[in-house]
Symmetry: C3
Subunit: 160 residues, 3 copies
Amino acid sequence: MSKKTIILFSGDYDKVMAAFVIANGAAAMDDEVTMFFTFWGLNAIRKPEGGGALTGKPKSTIQKMFSAMMPRGAERLRMSKMNFAGAGPKMLKMVMKSENVMSVSQLIETAQEQNIKFIACTMSMDVMGIRQEELIDGIEYAGVATYLAEADEGNVNLFI
Amino acid sequence: MSKKTIILFSGDYDKVMAAFVIANGAAAMDDEVTMFFTFWGLNAIRKPEGGGALTGKPKSTIQKMFSAMMPRGAERLRMSKMNFAGAGPKMLKMVMKSENVMSVSQLIETAQEQNIKFIACTMSMDVMGIRQEELIDGIEYAGVATYLAEADEGNVNLFI
Amino acid sequence: MSKKTIILFSGDYDKVMAAFVIANGAAAMDDEVTMFFTFWGLNAIRKPEGGGALTGKPKSTIQKMFSAMMPRGAERLRMSKMNFAGAGPKMLKMVMKSENVMSVSQLIETAQEQNIKFIACTMSMDVMGIRQEELIDGIEYAGVATYLAEADEGNVNLFI
């Protein structure tokens, strides 16, 4: 039993999948796991339906553009290769289903059930104009110092 | 003397090259090295000539499409930047040769000669419809639990 | 107080930014930090004005092409997603400024002030035809063996 940390920087469906397969695998082996979502990785934990009325500072025009153009939630993510305007992820998901591999949204649910700690990077949220209401529930909000404190305790620390 | 692990997720020529330079460097310093090939990284260890008659479950139509579109073997990989429809890798290889830098296929050969352990991710193989006969010889097949057990013993664990 | 190493392989503005935020955060917590710049990551530490008269072996035609096409310096880097022919980075920088987030060139300056060790990968420099005069001052030049020696002392080693 040890600790693992993963920085999820990527918002590509295939990389997000890899991150959660590793995280869930470690949690299943009784490891403590912390995932730190930054930049495009935040898209994997956005609520598909948006956040309703947002509190805090209003988004700037550029932040509204970023938010509007970035995929909302795991099942809308694109692939890093062979995306083919969305056909790639659809095909990938069909094969995953027929091979009994969990979808990314199921992997995320499992991760939360296994008490994997999700931390959303507040600096990235500020830059991209993502508000807490727009992200899934049950997560923490912190910056790089918190990540580093977690990684100091980890014996495996990955950047994905 | 210690242990290193590398997850090779990427199938880009430049990233695969970086992975093998690090792996071979560590092995040359008497480190034990394990490389775990997953997703696009599997393309680096596909046999260029395919696998002949395949055993096991027949590939689905989508899996056949994936297999057909993905590059077979190290020297057919694309670059992550400046690929220019294949001209990028060709130019890169010309410079590498003139600078006496090993090609990726030579790096892979050297890695096997140095007894670097190659593990192909079985879950990715299932999803992408890649069969054991299509991958180079002398490798192992396992899942995320095996990777994690190796990484627990590593003092440097990279995701590339 | 411990040691961290980061291989910066990527030359994307967003990934370079993530690397330096982590590096500076660790240095601010009194960690020793080594950054190893390889491949596209070298572009982040190129002098914007070029290197003037270059010493050493003359660049080959392909190397001249590579040098000419790759961005010179941190503020000319592209984004890994939503680059939009350069509009993406411009918009990102505008938001970063309004959110009081340091630009990548400021992050690099801070890193040097905090005595983060910069090592440029000599093998990548050879391949890409980048000469020492073209890179910023105050950095070291070494190969994979030096990286591995540093990483052996690190408790967090990332590949970005």
